[in-house]
Symmetry: C2
Subunit: 230 residues, 2 copies
DNA sequence: GATACAATGATTGAATACAATATTTTATTT
DNA sequence: AAATAAAATATTGTATTCAATCATTGTATC
């Protein structure tokens, strides 16, 4: 996966996780100095991580202005979800052409994990839900496809962080179950349509409310505290 | 596209072009020092370019062992072509849902360019053939899809460099024409199947001959000069 | 003659240092 | 007080430096 230098990997990995888990929200500045201090590495090392994250679309790197967490527009958001539909449809079609037994076994094991932490550890639960989709892609045996799915799933997290109400858009566990069943039955059409519905429900909850909300910058936050003159 | 530092862009861009045009063949080492001298920049700058190319899959970066032009295995080669089929099918489907007029106009203009340099400037001709596919993706209006197609087309060039006989695998111009016609007719199924056939013909010419040839390293070359003891 | 070990040279890993560019603050003017 | 200009500060761009690792050659030992 990430083959580059030893020291920049932890930086890359932590930033990535923080962005996906929405601890670092879209638009937040990522100064090389402070990140370097946090990880006790030099800016050179931080920069490597940032260049890579920029290439993956999670970070936005602008000349002489440094890095910030990518802040997709509503158009890009739709684009990203559409791309995800395309890639995961491909995953479904490939999986249904394969021997379903080992695939279903692996998926059920993952589902058990998901169930275990549901309502117990929210952060972990959300992460596992995302990893279900990555597992699906990996089970196709295509590293390239798995990489693309991994990337697009991450970018979807970013989109949700930007546009969705808190907790409004999680994967439904029942839907994962249904997808597994369709694969077990070897029914490519049903699997693809289940997946489509599943992703669409996530997307809808996130993007249908057309309110392209303003960011929580200082003035917007303060605006809510202005006392109306009575 | 590439937003990062001014000085590393030319390095990135030149390396990329050299790899796509097969001037730099798969497996060739890319030492930071000598590349830096070539472009009169420091290793820091070169390294940035290499990290990015690694993220795009054109370069292979291994810890403490530096960079080399990516050298896909035959399995990865098939994977890459399969992925390309998936992405370009998506392009076809999207284009056929749109207003065909401006799309067909742009495509015909490009085709004229292709025709102009056919049998005149081979390098340019090959480049234009690749750019036809990238133009198709751009015309969908989705930057994300266009980026993915751009990337996968580049990686296909790499695959061809590795496995195809010289000049054996170029895009056929007539096939491009037929694709345009299908789009003009708004026939998504036909467009997708034309594209599938087109890509398959390129792939076949490249990958069907199962000889996974050895590389021209010193020992392989010398092996041919060993005088048999008589 | 083959293998293991040691020394050398070459190449990469990563921090520091300095230059260039943005951003913010302060000062000045209207 | 508002707008502009200038200075100061902070941040990024890139080269240089030193340390760490790898590859190769040479040497010794079995």
């Amino acid at each position: 996966m990430y083959k580059s230098s030893t020291r920049s990997f932890p930086v890359y990995d932590s930033l990535r996780k923080a962005i996906i888990e929405q601890a670092l929200k879209p638009g937040v500045k990522l100064p090389e100095d402070s990140i370097g201090e946090t990880f006790s590495v030099s800016r050179t090392t931080v920069r490597n991580a940032l260049v890579r994250l920029d290439a993956e679309g999670l970070v936005d790197l602008q000349p002489n202005r440094g890095a910030s967490v990518a802040d997709p527009t509503i158009e890009e958001a739709h684009d990203i979800f559409e791309m995800r539909q395309c890639l995961e449809r491909e995953v479904m079609q490939r999986l249904c052409k394969m021997d379903s037994k080992p695939i279903v076994k692996a998926l059920k094991a993952h589902l058990a994990e998901e169930q275990k932490y549901l309502d117990v550890d929210t952060t972990r639960s959300i992460r596992l839900a995302g990893e279900f989709h990555i597992l699906l892609a990996e089970l196709t045996g295509s590293k390239i496809l798995a990489n693309y799915v991994n990337e697009i799933v991450s970018r979807c997290s970013l989109v949700l962080a930007r546009f969705a109400q808190a907790h409004s858009a999680q994967c439904g566990l029942e839907e994962h179950t249904e997808i597994i069943e369709a694969i077990a039955a070897g029914d490519a059409d049903r699997a693809a349509s289940q997946m489509h519905t599943h992703l669409h429900s996530v997307q809808d909850r996130a993007l249908l409310n057309p309110e392209d909300e303003e960011k929580d910058n200082v003035s917007n936050i303060l605006a809510r505290y202005v006392t109306p003159d009575s």
